[in-house]
């Protein structure tokens, strides 16, 4: 071991010498060594690596020592060397030290010789007394030289990152300056500089520059290395070909780039894909047919961009006039198209068909000075005019390049292989591959090992088992079967996963997991994977499903993200239009969190509201609103397969599900209602109204400000009444501007200025009187309903009630009022169990209004809703619906008030908070009679309303307390103590809490009497008919159309509404 080391070192010496003599030789030497003693060498490299790192650290100190005691340093190095080695082979220590000594002496001598040889010229230029330098000086000099050589040797021997880092220029190093010189004279200038350097040196006024470099590829510039700019200026002074003015510093970071040599591009070979660099075909994909490396030319195959019409014209004219194609340059470039023989004939272009001896004597068509075959243009070009570096044709390009007529011809073969040859490392161990080229074509196997050139494949074939064959990667193609689950690892669809539905040679069609769309990808770009991803969902600042601005007037939703572009569903409601948009084409992301639109019934639609499309091409679709822009909604329908499930519709084509109630046209309706209701309803409305007044328009699902109470107002609240109107700004920086109000709160208004494409926020009091005053003469009192508020507070019925105090509890007590609210209540809200919230949104009282006439008129009809004069359809629940997003804190404060006040004032035993109370009314026989007509919900006052039994939790509570849920026709399980459980149907619920039950699942058996404690509801199944046993919907019947955990989705019989109710409140009805 030690010996080997030693001999290695000797070799190293040789290296050093030779290196000084001839760099090329030295390189060869290294290669030789590599072959000879690779192992030892690598070991040594490793060792030296560590040694080197130390050196780097000590470098500075060493340098100081170097001068005074170079020999010492050598020894130190040697001993350091040995120190490490001791552990390995201590026996050789002595020998090695000797060796090292010899080594140095030898080196010294050799170096002198070398110096003599190599630097004669230089020496002669040294000052006189230098020639008599004493031996010590010489040695010092040599040591310096040697030290550097050794250094270089180290560096040469290995290339670790650390070392590379250490070599990078730092602030301490001389800087690089770029000077301008006459183009074409770069070399000359640098030689001149060198000459000048020498001459000046001779004269004893050395130039203080270190080097000068002219780069072949950089025309008109020269680099000079020096510590200071002044030195450079000094050096270039008076040189004609160098511009005296411009001396630019090259930043340290870029210094390496100046001298780094770009790797030679991949050799252009037959069948490689290239792109044309200039001319008509600039940027076009071409395929190399033939290469002549000597003459630096290639024949490439292109899709012709030939305008045959023009050509025909020119050819015919050309016969008479001779060419005048001055304007040819300005012509737009013709689209790429294959040449069609028929077309040629039609245009009477004469075609010569000749053999081309250059191309194996194949037949080509010649016309117009061009050469064609099979519709392709064959063109001889200089290798310089084509670019093969990093050309990865996209699928579309390849498909276009593929002539539609040749099915699976030779070219389709070239398709995957051409790609394969471009992409290194596409094969990974374990990949299933198939051979597509060569003698072993169609052989299948698995990749065993991949190295730089070859892929080692273990064939699947039994007879070849055990052997491993090496292939070039272009001979292989990954092998996939239909149904495989794969992941795309490159290309436009990078990141997507899916299942293969079709396999072609070189490409597959996969069905994306997320979008359920077909994607065409190259086999080279996919790997088998069980992972399911959504694919890319971010491009720049944009994310999937973002609303983006495309130009002034167009917006769209990103429905798919590809590698460098997005697919955007444009905001055109009449048809689904999808654009592929590059990142730079997207102006900006739009935030529409606070925007609203109106539906057909002028309900306000906000984000996440569920709407159903009732008109237009997407009629019947429904889903949550994802984006809103200028009355256009983007809806996400899970069942819609195209465009990622997104639909673009007009707001006016939709109806909001879940019963957001319109307030905007309430005035008229209200009046109507009031007429209907006579004196009774009026006060209630009025009493409610003060509290609601601040936000009559504010019924957004966001339910902002639900917590506000009475006159208290919060700036955040939305005022949709103003939205859409035109306003003028009175004062402030935007004084005089007019604009459309896009959003309004109590304090601020956001106005889209007419004169500038800009939305600004201004204070309300800055608006012109027309708008501003409306809101300034008394807070919310100036809303449309305002007169009624006044009336409300003056109502004779409750004269003493201040509006703040919930006199409006009253109606709840009134049985006739109860039904009104039912039905208005969306189950969602109840479920959300945010007891106190929903009520104070205007939804509540508008519903109240709507319902009024009918309830008043025929208050027992379950089906009152369709008959409601003002009746709108309040469709299915809004999951994530409205109203209940209110802040609980606020709600509490609110709900608290009614409970305090209502209790004392009316002497109601229980405050609305108590579970029993809200549930109470339906349970009492008297009130119960009203219940059929109450398809949901109860009173209208905020506090009580929130607390009413619609919330399942309360419903349950009521049930457990009362335990008298039994209703006729419900199927129950009877468990009498000591008996088997039996199924029966309730025939009659007695007032004493017992039930008469007919046994048997459809009630055909014996009659028994059981208490509620012995009964248990039979849990209904999907599609069962049900009867609701608790809650305000008690006694209503419906059909269970779905079960979601503990909730049942019920389609009510009477209203056909879809409701979500707690399963425990649903009793299965006997089939009959």
């Amino acid at each position: 071991m030690g010996y080997k080391k030693y001999s290695d070192d000797e070799e190293e010496n040789d290296d050093v010498e030779e290196e000084a003599e001839d760099v090329d030789d030295e390189e060869e030497e290294v290669e030789e060594e590599d072959e000879e003693e690779e192992e030892e060498r690598s070991r040594k490299r490793k060792y030296k690596g560590s040694q080197f790192i130390d050196d780097v650290a000590e470098e500075d100190d060493d340098e100081d020592e170097e001068e005074e005691a170079p020999r010492k340093r050598r020894h130190r190095r040697a001993s350091a060397f040995i120190d490490d080695e001791v552990a390995v082979a201590s026996d050789d220590e002595e020998e090695e030290i000797e060796g090292e000594d010899d080594f140095i002496q030898d080196e010294g001598v050799e170096m002198i010789e070398e110096e003599d040889r190599g630097r004669k010229h230089h020496r002669s230029m040294l000052p006189e007394d230098d020639q008599q330098e004493n031996v010590e000086d010489l040695e010092k000099f040599i040591q310096q030289r040697y030290g550097r050589h050794e250094y270089e040797e180290f560096e040469e021997a290995e290339t670790t990152d650390v070392e590379q880092q250490a070599l990078l220029p730092s602030v301490k190093d001389p800087k690089l300056w770029m000077v301008k010189c006459l183009p074409g004279h770069e070399r000359e200038a640098s030689i001149c500089l060198m000459q000048k350097f020498m001459d000046m040196d001779m004269q004893g006024k050395p130039l203080l520059i270190k080097s000068a470099i002219a780069l072949d590829h950089l025309k008109g510039y020269l680099y000079v290395e020096s510590e200071k700019e002044a030195y450079v200026r000094e050096a270039i002074r008076g040189m004609r070909m160098i511009s005296q003015r411009e001396v630019k510093l090259v930043p340290i970071k870029e210094m390496t780039d100046v001298l780094s040599v770009e790797k030679k591009s991949v050799d252009i070979d037959q069948d490689t894909w290239v792109r044309v660099k200039n001319g008509v075909y600039k940027g076009d994909l071409a395929k190399v047919v033939d290469v002549d490396h000597v003459r630096q030319r290639a024949t490439i195959k292109l899709i012709p961009r030939v305008d045959l019409q023009v050509l025909a014209l020119k050819m015919n004219e050309g016969l008479q006039k001779g060419g005048k194609d001055a304007d040819m340059k300005n012509k737009p470039r013709p689209a790429p198209r294959f040449i069609n023989k028929q077309e040629l004939q039609d245009l009477k272009i004469s075609v010569d068909t000749k053999r081309d001896p250059n191309h194996a004597g194949e037949y080509f068509e010649f016309f117009g000075g061009m050469q064609f075959k099979d519709g392709y243009l064959y063109k001889g070009v200089s290798l310089k005019s084509i670019d093969s570096n990093g050309v990865v044709p996209s699928f579309d390009e390849l498909q276009k390049f593929q002539k539609p007529t040749d099915e699976g011809g030779t070219d389709s073969m070239g398709l995957p292989t051409a790609l394969a040859s471009k992409r290194r490392g596409q094969f990974v161990k374990g990949d299933a591959v198939i051979v597509v080229q060569g003698d072993l074509k169609n052989l299948m196997g698995y990749v065993e090992k991949v190295d730089e050139d070859d892929v080692y494949v273990r064939p699947k074939d039994k007879e070849l088992k055990g052997s491993t064959l090496a292939f070039k990667d272009r001979q292989l193609c990954k092998f996939f079967k239909t149904g495989d689950h794969v992941k795309v690892v490159a290309g436009t669809h990078e990141g997507a996963t899916g299942m293969i539905v079709r396999v072609d040679l070189g490409s597959v069609v996969i069905l994306s997991d997320t979008t359920k769309e077909d994607l065409k990808v190259f086999t080279a770009n996919i790997v088998e994977s069980s992972e399911v991803t959504s694919g890319l969902n971010k491009l720049g600042d944009y994310e999937l499903h973002d609303l983006v601005l495309l130009d002034q007037s167009t917006v769209g939703v990103i429905v798919r993200v590809e590698k460098d572009s997005c697919q955007v569903l444009k905001g055109t409601p009449d048809r689904a239009e999808v654009l592929t948009v590059k990142l730079r084409d997207m102006r900006k992301k739009l935030f529409d969190r606070n925007t609203n639109a109106q539906d057909r019934d002028s309900n306000v639609i906000s984000l996440k509201d569920i709407v159903r499309v009732v008109e237009g091409p997407f009629k019947g679709r429904e889903g949550p609103v994802e984006h809103i822009n200028r009355g256009i909604l983007f809806i996400h329908d899970r069942h819609h397969l195209e465009n990622g499930g997104f639909l673009c519709v007009r707001g006016m084509w939709c109806v909001a599900l879940g019963g957001s109630r319109n307030r905007l046209d309430r005035g008229g309706r209200q009046a109507h209602n009031n007429n209907f209701n006579g004196g009774f309803q009026a006060p209630m409305n009025y009493l409610q109204s003060p509290r609601r007044s601040p936000h009559p328009f504010h019924q957004g699902p966001g339910g902002h400000g639900g917590s506000t109470f009475g006159g208290r107002q919060m700036g955040r609240r939305r005022d949709h009444g103003l939205v859409g109107t035109t306003a003028k700004i009175r004062t402030g920086p935007f004084k005089g501007y007019r604009g459309r109000v896009v959003d309004a709160t109590d304090h601020d208004v956001r106005i889209e200025l007419e004169s500038q494409m800009k939305v600004v926020t201004v204070r309300r009091d800055q608006l012109s009187d027309a708008v501003g005053s409306q809101y300034h003469n008394g807070g919310g009192a100036s809303y449309r309903e305002s007169p009624r508020y006044g009336a409300g507070s003056e109502t004779p019925l409750h004269p003493s009630r201040t509006p703040m105090h919930p006199a409006f509890m009253t109606p709840m007590r009134d049985p006739s009022a109860t039904p009104i609210h039912d039905g208005m209540r969306t189950p969602m809200r109840d479920r959300a169990w945010n007891p106190h919230t929903a009520m104070n949104t205007p939804l509540r009282d508008s519903s109240w209004d709507d319902a009024n006439p009918s309830t008043w008129g025929n208050s027992g009809t379950p089906q009152y809703q369709p008959g409601t004069p003002g009746g709108r359809q309040y469709e299915a629940p809004t999951p994530g619906g409205r109203g209940w997003a209110n802040t609980p804190t606020g709600s509490f404060s609110e709900a608290g008030t009614p409970s305090e006040s209502s209790g004392p004032s009316y002497g109601i035993p229980a405050s609305p908070y108590l579970i029993g109370t809200p549930g109470g009314p339906p349970m009492t026989p008297g009130v119960a009679s009203y219940l059929p007509s109450t398809p949901g919900g109860q009173p209208m006052t905020p506090g009580t309303g929130g607390l009413d039994p619609t919330s399942p939790a309360l419903g349950m509570g009521g049930l457990e307390i009362e335990n008298k849920w039994g209703l006729p026709e419900i199927v129950v399980t009877v468990r009498k103590a000591g008996e088997e459980a039996q199924v029966g149907v309730i025939q009659e619920a007695m007032p004493d809490g017992t039930c008469r039950i007919a046994l048997g699942s459809s009630g055909e058996g014996d009659m028994i009497i059981a208490t509620h404690a012995e009964l248990e509801l039979v849990v209904p199944k999907k599609t069962d008919r049900i009867k609701i046993v608790s809650g305000e919907l008690r006694r209503s019947t419906g059909k269970l159309i779905g079960i979601d955990g503990a909730d049942g989705i019920v389609k009510m019989d009477d209203t056909l509404d879809i409701k979500i109710l707690d399963m425990s409140s649903l009793g299965k009805m006997a089939a009959n």
Partner: protein
């Protein structure tokens, strides 16, 4: 494919259910919990057929819930690659059609529909042969072969083909083939 297998599960039961109906409650809860679920390993649990054992309950600290180890027998349905299934078409679009075989959703891409059948849009989108003799539309019954499955936590999604002998339409919604 259907399997009748034993599975085990720990059921947590609220103390309010303790009483004479404990066992029934447990079983009904088990059924409620497992029927219709899907696991990648076993597929869809179609029905619980029997409860083998209910072990000793263990009171959970802090909650009062009691955990019962239950062993039950159930019928599971797990689709496999290469399996032939009969299914009902639920949706037809230009990319192919979706069909359901019980709980399993199967997508048959248009690449996996015989080439002579082409998509006909219109009121009732369908795939039709040129002579109109075979027509696959919503609610048609189709025999297909599963070529790929993707197992998620909560569903198994399959890709099927009808591009093979004896596969394809077996019944139309109106009755008859």
């Amino acid at each position: 494919m259907f399997f009748h297998i034993y599975l085990e599960r720990n059921m947590q039961l609220h103390p309010r259910h303790f009483g004479p109906h404990l066992r029934d409650k447990l079983i009904s809860k088990l059924i409620q919990d497992v029927e219709g679920t899907c696991s990648g390993r076993h597929g869809f649990v179609v029905a619980v057929t029997a409860v083998e054992t209910i072990g000793q309950g263990l009171i959970r600290d802090g909650t009062g819930y009691v955990t019962f180890p239950m062993k039950y027998q159930c019928v599971v349905f797990r689709p496999f690659k290469g399996e032939i299934l009969e299914s009902v078409v639920t949706m037809v679009n230009k990319m192919g059609f979706f069909a359901e075989a019980g709980p399993v959703q199967i997508f048959v891409s248009n690449h996996l529909i015989p080439d002579d059948m082409v998509f006909q849009s219109g009121d009732v989108p369908s795939y039709e042969t040129s002579d109109g003799s075979v027509r696959i539309q919503k609610d048609s019954e189709v025999r297909l072969k599963i070529v790929g499955t993707r197992v998620d936590a909560t569903e198994i999604f399959c890709i099927g083909t009808i591009k093979d002998d004896f596969l394809g339409l077996i019944g139309n919604p109106g009755g008859g083939a």
